[in-house]
Symmetry: D2
Subunit: 399 residues, 4 copies
C-alpha cells in the first residue's frame, strides 16, 4: 500500500519509531506501566510488548532462518485480536500480567530489534519486507497514541491528580482561538480515499467516487467555552437534543460534562497529562463521546460532518481555512465505519487489522495532540464506538 | 408527507386497520396477551393499548373540545418512548402490568375509536388531521407486525411448542425456489428516497442523489438449505468469517443456527407461528442477525447490499427479476441507519418517531410475511440493531 | 413425622386445603395469575400447578396402577427444585409460560384431585400414604402463603395501586397496641424442636438440648410508628447501625423505608392487599429485611432473638404475655438456618425439601397474616435470605 | 483484651512484625506489588500501606502532639472499611493506584515506624497504648497472611506459572499422612471463647457456656488423594451431595476441582507459592469452598464440625490426637459467623473491626501455612463467605 522506505532509511525509521515508544514510558514507574484502568485500555507494558510481538510474528517468524521465539508464552500473552495467529490472553486481564515484568519486556524489545536490524540489513531491496515493516511501524505509532490516552485514563483514577509530565506546558492554547466561520463547499461528485504513493491502511482504499450535497464546515473546533454554554443551558438534561442511545448512556452513567472535567470550588478544571489545570475556555473541547458531540451539534443548530465531507474539505484546505485539522483532537463524524466500495482485506491474519471492526463504530477524522507527528493524513480513518470518551475526541460542526 | 386519505375513505381505513389489530389477538388468550418474553418485545396487550394511546395523545387531546383522558394513568403506562409527552413505564416491565387487563384495554380501544369516529366525521376536509391519522394508522401497522414477531418469540419460550395459528398452512414455500442468478445494475448517479404523493415516514426523505458503483444483486433470497451448508461447513466456528462483534456475540450466546431452528433426532425443525415444522430447505432463511447474514455472505464470496443499491434495484425490478422483494422477510443491508442529507425531524414529540434512533442500527429493506399488506414500499427503511434475530430477517446477497 | 389424619378426615382435609388454593385465586384475572414480578416470586398459576404436580409425582405416580401423567410436559414445567425428579423449567422464566393457561391448570387440578380421591378411598389405613398426603397439604399451605406475598409484590408493580381484595378491612390493627414490656426468661438448658404427635417438617427435628443465657423478649412487635422514629432519626443513613452487607444493600438499592411504604404529599402510605392505605402507626412494621431489623434493634439498644430463645419463650407464653406470636408477621431471628444436631433429610427427592437450603439463610419464627390458619406452631422454622423484604416479616426485640 | 506487652518488649515486637511484612514483599517486583487480581484481594502495596495507616490513624493521630499526617490523601486511599474514619477508595479499584508507588509506601512505613518508636519510648507504661499497639500488630499479621493468599491468586493469573519463592521446598508433606481415625468427645455443657491473659480479638469474647451433643472429629485432615476419589466418583456432578447454593455456584462457574488444581497430560498438578507442582496425594486438600467441603463430607458419610466442637476438641487435644490443628490450613466449620452471647463491639471506629461482618459468613478454625507463627490459638475465629476458595482452606470431618 505504499512504495515503502528502504535501505538505510527504513532501518533508521525503524529505530526512530521503536525508540520513541520507550521514550513515552520514561516518565512512568514500572507500576504505572503495568496497570490497566479499564477493559478498553491496556497497560503501557502490554503496548510495548504487543508492538514487538507484531514484528516477531509477522516479520521474524516467516523470514528468519531457524526462527525461535524469544519466549513461547509471549505468543499468547501479547496477541491482541488476531484469531488467525492462535490463542490470546483475555483483554480485560492484561493488567494482571505482572510477569513478565518491564525488565523482561525491555529485553524482549532489544532482542527483536537486534534481529530486525539483521533482517533489514540482509534484505536491502525486498519490497514486500519493507511494506510489512512499514505496516509494523505505523501500527506501533497507533499504539504510541494509545499509550498516552491509556496513561491519562489510568492517572485519572488516582485522587492525587498525578501528572504524566509535570514540567510540560499546558495542552491548552495560550491565545484565544479566532471566531469560527462557516466554510462553504460545493459538493457534487468527489473522490475520496487514499491516493498517491505513500503508506496508507487498507481501510482507506480503494479511492472511489461519492456524491455530496453542498455543505459547510466550521473553521474552528468547538471550544471548552462553547461547550460550557451548552452545559449551562441544560444541554445534558434535555432529551430532545440526544440520540436515544446517547440519552440512555448519559442517564445511566450520570454524565454531565466531558470526561476529565472536574468542578471545584474555584471553578472548572480539567485533568491532563500535565496534571490538573484550570479549564481553558478558548481551547477545543476534547474527551467527548459521539453522543455528546451530536447533542451539542443539534443544540447549536448544526450537525456533524460526514467523513467524505471532512476529507474533501481537508484536501481543499491547503490554504489553512480550516484550523486544527490535525494535531489537536480527533473530530467525530456522522459516518459509521464501513468498508469502501470494493474494499478487500489483506489475506491471512493481517486481514484482521481493520475489516472485522466495521460494525457499530463511527469514524473520526484528523489527528490529536497524542498522534505521533507525521502519522496521519487527510484520508486517515480512525474509528471508535459512539460512547468512547477517553480518546482526544472533539467536535467540528457542519451544516 | 402524503396527500392523505380523507372523507369516508379515511374513516373506513381507520376502522379497517384498527379492526385488524384485534383480529391478530383473536387466537390468543388473555394470558398470552399479557406476557413479555424479553425487554425488546412487548405484550400484545401493550401494543393494543399503545397504538390507542397514540390516537388519544396526538389526535384527540389537541383537537377534542373538553378533552378528558379515558384513564389518566394510561398516559404513562402506554407511552413508548416519547420523552416529549412525559413519564413512561419502564419498557422491560411492561409484562408486569396485569392491570389494566385485556377487558379494560378493549374498552379503551372502543372508547377512542368512537371518539375518533366523531372527530373524523366532524372535520371531513382537514388535511392536517388526515395526515396525522394516516401516521397513526401506519404506526399501528408497524405494531401489527411486532405483535406477530413478539408472539412468536413468546410462544417459543414454552417447551410445548404451542402454535399461534395451528390450522394455517406452512410459512414455507411449497415449490422449490428457482436457482438464484446475479442481476447486474449499472449504478452511477441515482436518486433514492420517497417520491410521489403517497404516505412515507420522515426517514425516507428527502429524496436525494447518491453515487453507486456498478453492482449485482441475487435474484433469490438465501435459502434454509444454503444456510445449512454454511453451518455444515463450520461457518459458526470460523472467526475469519465474522465481524469481531459478531464473533463475540456468537461465542457468548452459544449461537450455532438461526433463531427458532431446533435440531431433533429426525432432523432440523423450525418453530413458526403454526407450530414446530420440519425445516423447508427451499424456503428463505429467516431470523438471522446482521452478524450471521454478513458471515454467510463472506463465506459465499459475496457481501450484503447497500440500502441504496437495494432501493435502486427494487425500483428497476418491476418486471420481477428480483424475487421476494416484499412479503417474505426483511433483508439486511450493510448500511447503518443514518439521516438522509437534509433530513429534518418533525417538530414536537412526533419528531422522536425516527430520528433519535439513527445510531448503531442497520437498515433492512423489503417487507416480511408479518408486514400488513400494503404497508411497505421500495423506499421504506426498517432498522434494528445488528444482533436482532426475532424479526423475520433474511439475506439477499450482493457483489 | 406425625400420626397423620386418616379415614374420611384426611380426604376432607385434602379437599379443604385444595379448595382454599382456588379460593385465593378468585379475586384475580387470568392475566394476574400468569405474571411473575421477580425471580423470587412465582405466578399464581404456577403455584396452583406445582402443588398439584407434588401430589401427582409423589403420591399418584408410585401408587396408581398404570399411572399416566396428565401431561408429560407438566412434569418439567412444574417441578420447583427437585433435582432428583429430573429437569426443571428455569425459575425466572415461569412468567413466560402462558401455555398451559389457567383453564388447563384448573383441569389439571380437577384431574389430580379426582384421582387422589380414589386413591384415598382405596387405602383407608395406609399410614405411609397418609403421611405423604399430609406433607403435600402442608406444602400446599406454604404455597398459599406465597400466593399472597407474590400477588402483593406483583400488584405493587402497577402505578394504579390495584387492590387484591378491595372490600377487605385494613390489615392494620384498629386499636393502638399496648406499650411493649420486656419479658424475662431464665434460659439455661432447654429443649427445642418439635415434640408430640402432630405434623412437623423434618427441619424441626430432632428435638434436642441447647443452652441459653438469661434473656428478655419484647412483649409487642415493633410498630410502624417506632420504625418511623428510626427513619426520622436518620437510621438509614448511619453506617454504624448496619451490618456491612446490609449497609451495601441499602446504599446500592437506595432503600430508605420498608418495602411498600410510599411517601405522598399527605404523609406515609403503605400498599397492601387491600390497596393503598395510610400508614397505621400502631400496627407492627412488616416487609423489612433482616438487615433493617438488625439495624433497628441496634439503634434501639437491643438485638434480635435467637430462634431457641423465641421458641422457648413461645412455649412458655401460653398465658399470652407475648403478643402477636402468630398471625401478624414472621419475626426475624439472629439464627442462621442450620440443621439441628442429628438432623437427617428424608431419602429420595423429598430429602431436597429443606436440607439443601441450610446455607446463607436466616430463620424467622411465628406466622403471618398470610399464613393459613393452623399451619404454624412454636417449633416451625421459616427461612429466607437476609435481604428478603416481600414476605410479611417484622421485628420482635430481644436483649 | 490482653495484659499487653510493654517496655522494650513491645517496641521489639513492633519492629519484628513490621519488618516481616517487608520481608514478605522481597521476592516481588514493584509491578507484582501493585496489581489486584480480584475485588476480594488487594495489592501487596495496599496491604503495606493500610497496616501503616492503621497505626497512623488509631495511634499517632490521637496521641502525637501536633499530629500532621504523612500525606493527607493516604487517609482516604488506605482506609479499608472503617466508615467511622471517613471516605474510602473503592475496594475493587485498589489495583489502579499506581501512585503512590512502592517507594513512597516504603517511605510512609519508615516515617510511621520512626514516630511509633518515639511514641512507644515516651509512654513506657501506658496500658491503653500497649493494647492498641498490640491490636495493630495482630491486624498486621492478619494482612501478612492475606499478602500470601493474594499473591498466590495474582500469580495464578499468569500462564507462565511464576513462583513466588522458587527455591522453597514443597508445601506438601514429605511423608504420607497417617490414616485418619475418629476421635470421640463427650460434649455436654462446655465453655468456649477466649480465656486467660493473652491477646484475643473481640469476636472471641465473652467466654460462655454452650451445650454439645457427643461428637467425633477426624484425627487427620482430608487429603488430596481422598478428595480426588470424590472427584473421580462424580462428586461434582451429583446434585444430591450439594447445598442448593453450592450446586448453583459449581454449575455457574464450571467448578470441577479445587482452585489451583490443573490437569495436564501427565496428571494433576497444583499451583503453589513455589510454582506448579505435581499433586501430592498425601497432603491435605486446600483451596476448597465451604460448598465443596460440605459436599465432600456428605459424600463421605460425615459432616463438618461446629466451631464449638472444634474448639472443645482442640483444647482437649494437647496430647496431639488431632493432627494439623494449626499451621497447615484453615478448617471450615458448619457454624455461621455470629456474635457470642453478650458480645459487644468496641466503641468508635475500631468497633467496625469484626462485628459488622457477622452475616452470611462461616467460621474457619485453626491456622494455615500462611498464618504468621504465634498468631492463632484455639479460640481464634476466622471467617469468610461460603464460596471463598483463595484462602488456604481445607476439611476436617466430624460426625
Amino acid at each position: 500500500m505504499s512504495d515503502g522506505m528502504h535501505d538505510t532509511s527504513l532501518a533508521a525509521a525503524y529505530q526512530d519509531v521503536r525508540r520513541r515508544s520507550l521514550q513515552l514510558a520514561e516518565p512512568l514507574s514500572d507500576e504505572d506501566c503495568g496497570a490497566q484502568s479499564m477493559p478498553d485500555a491496556s497497560p503501557v507494558k502490554w503496548h510495548l510488548a504487543h508492538t514487538t510481538w507484531f514484528f516477531e510474528t509477522f516479520l521474524l517468524e516467516p523470514r528468519e532462518a531457524g526462527f525461535v521465539p524469544f519466549d513461547a508464552a509471549f505468543r499468547v500473552l501479547f496477541n491482541s485480536y488476531y484469531n488467525g495467529v492462535g490463542a490470546r490472553h483475555p483483554r480485560p486481564r492484561r493488567g494482571l500480567l505482572t510477569r513478565p515484568g518491564m525488565r523482561e519486556v525491555r529485553a524482549y524489545r532489544a532482542n527483536v530489534d537486534a534481529r530486525m536490524g539483521r533482517l533489514l540489513a540482509a534484505c536491502p531491496d525486498d519490497a514486500a519486507l519493507a511494506s510489512l515493516v512499514e505496516l509494523g511501524l505505523q501500527h506501533e505509532q497507533q499504539h504510541q497514541e494509545l499509550i498516552l490516552t491509556d496513561v491519562l485514563h489510568l492517572l485519572a483514577q488516582s485522587p492525587l491528580y498525578p501528572a504524566y509530565h509535570p514540567a510540560g506546558h499546558s495542552d491548552a492554547a495560550l491565545a484565544p482561538a479566532r471566531a469560527s466561520e462557516w466554510m462553504a463547499f460545493d459538493g457534487g461528485l468527489v473522490e475520496v480515499g487514499h491516493a498517491g504513493a505513500g503508506f496508507c491502511f487498507d481501510n482507506e482504499l480503494p479511492r472511489h467516487r461519492t456524491y455530496l450535497q453542498p455543505f459547510s464546515l466550521a473553521s474552528q473546533l468547538v471550544t471548552n467555552g462553547e461547550f460550557l454554554a451548552f452545559i449551562d443551558a441544560g444541554g445534558y438534561r434535555d432529551p430532545a437534543l440526544w440520540l436515544s442511545e446517547g440519552w440512555d448512556a448519559v442517564a445511566q452513567n450520570g454524565v454531565a460534562h466531558p470526561l476529565y472535567w472536574i468542578r471545584q470550588a474555584d471553578g472548572w478544571h480539567v485533568f491532563t497529562l500535565h496534571g490538573l489545570r484550570p479549564l481553558d475556555l478558548h481551547a477545543p473541547v476534547t474527551h467527548v463521546s459521539l453522543y455528546e458531540a451530536d447533542a451539542y451539534a443539534r443544540w447549536a443548530g448544526a450537525r456533524l460532518p460526514l467523513e467524505a465531507e471532512w476529507e474533501t474539505a481537508a484536501a481543499a484546505a491547503a490554504g489553512g481555512s480550516l484550523a486544527d485539522l490535525f494535531g489537536t483532537c480527533w473530530q467525530w463524524t456522522a459516518s459509521s465505519y464501513a468498508p469502501y466500495p470494493g474494499y478487500t482485506a489483506a489475506a491471512g491474519a493481517l486481514g484482521e487489522y481493520n475489516g472485522k471492526f466495521m460494525i457499530n463504530q463511527y469514524v473520526l477524522r484528523g489527528a490529536s495532540c497524542a498522534t505521533p507527528p507525521g502519522h496521519a493524513r487527510a484520508s486517515y480513518r480512525n474509528f471508535f464506538p459512539a460512547g468512547t470518551r477517553w480518546q482526544f475526541s472533539g467536535i467540528r460542526l457542519a451544516r
